[in-house]
Amino acid sequence: MMTYFKDILSGFYSLLAGMAVTIRYFVKPIVTVQYPRQKIEMTPRYRGYPQLIVDPETHTHRCIACEMCSRICPSQLIHLEGTKFPGEKQKRATKYIHEHQYCSLCGLCTEVCPTGALEYSKEYRLAGYRREDAVIDHLVLLQHRQYAAGLPVTSIPTEAEIAAAIAEEAAAKEAKAKAAEKAKAKEAPAAEVKE
């Protein structure tokens, strides 16, 4: 008999305790991040798509167009071209396109780069309407980032400039080859005379 009433009272109290929990949650702020309208910061080691690093000293990218990343990509998604410009020591990339729609985010391209030119970005808002929206032109993205950071923008060479650079390099090479031949030819008669 007593347990009957005790059960009723303890049951009633448990109902009130449950309702207290829910009303406390009712007044708490919501935890949802409303995705297209709000942005959250990713953690430092988040792996987004690979992007070109802006070198802190030269304020441009470090890619030397060696095509290691292109060769190691398991899905062959990286397409790049580069050439040596007159007056510079190494080649420079003139086109760096990567097809992100098939990328498996394996990170091999980032690891294998000899100059360490690639890093993982923090961008996660990659939704688009067409498959072609996922093709990333990294030199253009680099320009956006440099502009946003207030740095001088690295210009992307046009076809004409590239052709001119290639022609100049070829001419410079020929001139060097001719000068080397001449030097050899000069030494040869001297050696003959000695003989």
């Binding site: 109902l15 309702m19 949650y25 009712f26 708490k28 919501i30 935890v31 949802t32």
Partner: protein, 324 residues
């Protein structure tokens, strides 16, 4: 306007105007309540709820209604046609009729009947008939199970409801709802009869088939219980009837326990609506706090706990009234 009053008489005009007002109220109420339910549920679960359509999703219900209107009305093969078609109408009409006697303010009642409260209770019983019709005519074993459980639940919870209401009527001495509101001018009945208020809210929640007593609808158990086979606007009518039923239960609770339309500064209608929606918020709070009760627990709770408590409450009220 004068011609209308002449042809129909003042009572008739009141009825026509009242009918139009009630239909408008029911539609706007359903619109508002569905949005409120989704928002309350969402915030209790730490999420925003509908946010896209309109400011914080307030037009979401209209979008849902347009979607429902565009759906095909599928009638399964071997249904009992007349009963199948009538069930959504029968569930909605008694609830609409119950609005005849509810006092929204001291002058805004369509018809101040002597037996106002009995009318409301009688019409809420008709809803059970409609559920049985819907479940039986659907030619679907899950619907029949849902309907049977719903009938058992409704009948079981009506008894403590009636006994509880009786103990309030004992203090007032009349079934007229305006008299009940007038008798609370000194002190609201929730203070003199707290147990009756708790019992009434529990029984009212069970009468409208709302969680935690929503076995008949049982969204995750019997597909959708008795209204499984109803699609499009027919389903919308069941839905509408449920939310209007909630409004009736909350209105009666306000009149019986919370002092009706009485209140200090604001106009009387506003006080009435505030109290009604506070009770509805309480019912929604129940839904998102408690898990659904099992069917045998439901029936045990009604017969073994609520009825004895209601009878004890009635006994104590009668003794106090006699010994005064």
């Amino acid at each position: 306007m004068e011609q209308l009053v002449q042809t129909l008489g003042s009572e008739g005009t009141k009825m026509v105007v009242g009918l139009i007002a009630v239909i408008a109220l029911v539609s706007v109420n359903a619109l508002f309540l569905i949005w409120m339910e989704r928002k309350v549920a969402a915030h209790m679960q730490l999420r925003p709820g509908p946010m896209e359509v309109g400011w914080h999703g307030c037009i979401q219900t209209i979008a849902d209604a347009i979607k429902l209107m565009g759906k095909e009305l599928i009638t399964p093969e071997d249904v009992d046609r007349p009963i199948f078609f009538l069930a959504p109408i029968v569930i909605f009409l008694p609830v609409l009729l119950s609005f005849l006697v509810i006092p929204f303010s001291s002058s805004w009642i369509i018809r101040d009947m002597n037996v106002g409260l009995v009318l409301i209770l009688a019409f809420s019983t008709l809803g059970v008939l409609a559920i049985l019709m819907a479940g039986w005519a659907s030619n679907n074993k899950y619907s029949v199970l849902g309907a049977i459980r719903s009938v058992a639940q409704n009948i079981a919870y009506e008894i403590p409801l009636l006994v509880t209401v009786m103990s309030v009527i004992l203090m007032v001495g009349s079934f007229k709802l305006t008299d009940i509101v007038a008798a609370q001018s000194g002190c609201w009945f929730i203070l003199t009869q707290p147990l009756a208020f708790i019992l009434y809210i529990i029984c009212g929640t069970a009468e409208t088939n709302r969680a935690p007593f929503d076995i008949p609808e049982a969204e995750s158990e019997l597909v959708a219980g008795f209204h499984t086979e109803y699609s499009g606007m027919r389903f919308a009518l069941f839905f509408l009837a449920e939310y209007t039923n909630m409004l009736i239960v909350a209105a009666v609770a306000t009149v019986l326990f919370l002092g009706g339309w009485k209140g200090p500064f604001l106009p009387e209608v506003i006080w009435f609506l505030i109290k009604v929606y506070a009770v509805i918020f309480l019912m929604m709070w129940f839904r998102w706090t408690f898990p659904r009760v099992r069917f045998d627990q439901l029936i045990t709770f009604a017969w073994k706990i609520l009825i004895p408590l209601a009878l004890v409450n009635l006994l104590i009220t009668a003794l106090v009234m006699k010994l005064r």
